[in-house]
């Protein structure tokens, strides 16, 4: 958190804008504007430390927000806009990395760990549980009942 704060103050020192979207940037149509905001949240301000262009005050982020809105006004889909930005700035601009050869490990890790974990647990549980012991004989049952009666409350612990 502290580095985030430091990073932000670093940008404040050369950019005059303090927060992201300024009123003059916004689209008149609320539906299109909402789309622009949602899309902006998935795009990285490339000169910032891990901030989306929606959150960043840097001039570059403002430029990107305007580009996004221009393309939305031109009727492009989110995917088209993302493709355009990737072509221009590289995959670094996407906060949500695309599934590809070099991100497959990244995306697979959560599922992989879950599956491996389940298998491991199952194996340990199976190995840990020895075959059930043979049933008690009637005499043993009697003995046990007597023991249980005598031990009173102790079993409840």
């Amino acid at each position: 958190m502290r580095a985030a704060i430091l990073a932000i103050s670093f940008f404040l020192s050369f950019s005059s804008a303090v927060f992201a979207v300024e009123p003059d940037e916004m689209l008149a149509d609320p539906a299109l504007e909402a789309r622009a905001r949602a899309l902006s949240q998935t795009l990285r301000c490339m000169v910032c430390q891990n901030q989306s262009i929606e959150d960043s005050a840097a001039p570059l982020a403002r430029d990107l927000r305007l580009i996004v809105r221009e393309h939305i006004k031109a009727g492009e889909s989110d995917q088209q806009i993302r493709d355009y930005l990737v072509a221009r700035y590289g995959e670094f601009v996407l906060l949500n990395p695309r599934l590809s050869a070099h991100t497959v490990v990244l995306w697979a890790i959560p599922g992989l760990i879950l599956v491996c974990g389940f298998i491991w647990i199952a194996v340990v549980l199976l190995r840990g549980n020895p075959p059930q012991p043979a049933k008690l004989s009637p005499e043993e049952e009697k003995k046990l009942a007597k023991l249980v009666r005598n031990s009173d409350d102790l079993t409840k612990l």
């Binding site: 985030a4 704060i5 430091l6 932000i8 103050s9 998935t42 995959e91």
Partner: protein, 658 residues
Amino acid sequence: MIAELSHYALVLAFVLAVLQTILPLWGARKNDLTLMGVAEPLALAGFGFIAFAFAGLIASFVRSDFSVLAVYTNSHSLQPLLYKITGVWGNHEGSMILWVFVLGFFSALVASLGGNLPARLRANVLGIEGSIAAVFLLFILTTSNPFLRLSPAPAEGQQLNPILQDIGLAIHPPLLYLGYVGFSIAFAFAAAALIEGRLDAAWARWVRPWILTAWIFLTLGIAMGSYWAYYELGWGGYWFWDPVENASLMPWLAGTALLHSAIVMEKREALKVWTVLLAILTFSFSLLGTFLVRSGVLTSVHSFANDPARGVFILAILILFIGGSLALFALRAPVLKQGGLFAPVSREGALVINNLLLTATAATVFTGTLYPLVLEAVTGEKISVGAPFFDRTAGPLLLCLLLVMPAGPLLAWKRGDLRGVTERLTFAAGIAAAVAGLVLWLTQGGPILSAAGLFCAIYAIAGALIEFSERLQLFRIPLAASFSRARGLPRSAFGTVLAHIGVGISLLGIVAEAGWSQERVVALKPGDRIAIADFDLSFKGLYDREGENWHDRLGRFEIRRGGLQVTTLEPAKRIYLGNQPTTEAGIATFGFGQLYISLGEPMPNGAISAHIYWKPLVTLIWIGGMVMAIGGALSLSDRRLRVGAPKPARRMSVLPAE
């Protein structure tokens, strides 16, 4: 003079830490009581010297001794006293001193409270603690000396970064470090158990209070940091999945898993090896967290290399402790005997699932945080992994965890009654569905995701309450009898319920903030009126205000609700000495919701831009964190867990099986 004395005290502390490492560990090996016995005085004396150095650094800051480099770069004579003091740890060198100070503090605590530990275990634990202290002190002395002098001494300092000039800096880092470093005790216990090759339920009982203590502080530290970012950064966000936040989340996730597996180990002697591994992993994450923030590796791989001495040292520390302890684990874990069999459907089983989900989440956050660094180092390709990734991966895992959470306490140890639990949880789910449906209907249908989140939150809270009323047999026996049952319950039972409810409360806040917040982005001229939620804001104009070392340009807003003026908000743009600006959001709390105004830039036409938010239930996010911590504290105060407490009181035996 103070700086030199403090520097010398650090050197002495280092020497003592080296002795504290070697003598007790050797003594434990040779079974030499005298050698083992030196651990306590060494730990106490070491803490004394570190405290002296820490106090010396604080004194240099308070006296504005700008001949000390760290003071010059992080303080100013006009800074308020509080920020002169907090400036001590608002930089790399000083924060490392705070780190070893907390470490020394915990070592001293073990030394003075650990009288009931077996001599060998205590000697080994303190020896391991000593080794951590020795390595960190060496790191400070060789690469991050806070007592470097400047000659000639400048007349004035460069002041602490304005964004850090906040009460948050006084609270957040110390809490966070108490959490991070607190887990070093669990780590030391784990390493000691591996060295001795002995691990039993008593070990879990001794180590649990330490785990709980660290967990409480880390929980509070994260909640506090989140609120700090929320009000200070001025765009209304509270969690950004920033690598630095992730750095604190990873040890929290692993620590939460550890907390639960240690319970299983204490009660049932199961999950022994796993608990030891978790203790190692949790502290490894803490180390990683410390260095992710401190080393600059996050900004880019290249800035890490800019200061090779520090970077290489950090890598060496990580390899030494993480690699070393994992190697020790691999060597010695097979010696430890597994115990405690249980059926898949049992409280142990539920806690295993809890551990699996928490570990998977921690692994996901870990991968997401470090993947871009590794990828760039290996292939040169640059990608980003941000909030959308974590929302899609860690998010669902945590929601699954929440669904399992109420089942744990409802299930019996060893073999649980699946049908009974399902019935009760169906009841909880019914309540949750009804509430979620009602809210959706009242708010004219919200995003479906919010409804799902709302359901999970209510379900978690209801589940915890149902479990609690089961224990009291509420409504099944007379109320007075339930009350006397409640008095007989151990405090840890209250702790569990509270902590679990806290999770639900936090989620409730998160869901409400995400789904039902309102926002206006406007350009305002004096006299303009804005309506948001059921509030009516009128903008009165811009005013000036002078502070000790800043100047505010503030906008005044009168807030009306139902025609009555309820409050005035004055969000500001604050200019500190040296022209560094910050935003000061104007925040007013109504119930659990907050009205949040952040001022922007003057526009060409004379208007000023402003972001205005209404965030319903947003404070629940942090209140939930505090409830969790209070739950932890209640558990900690349970006499069965108190360090040095006698055996559980007999009255426990009349209670039903837990």
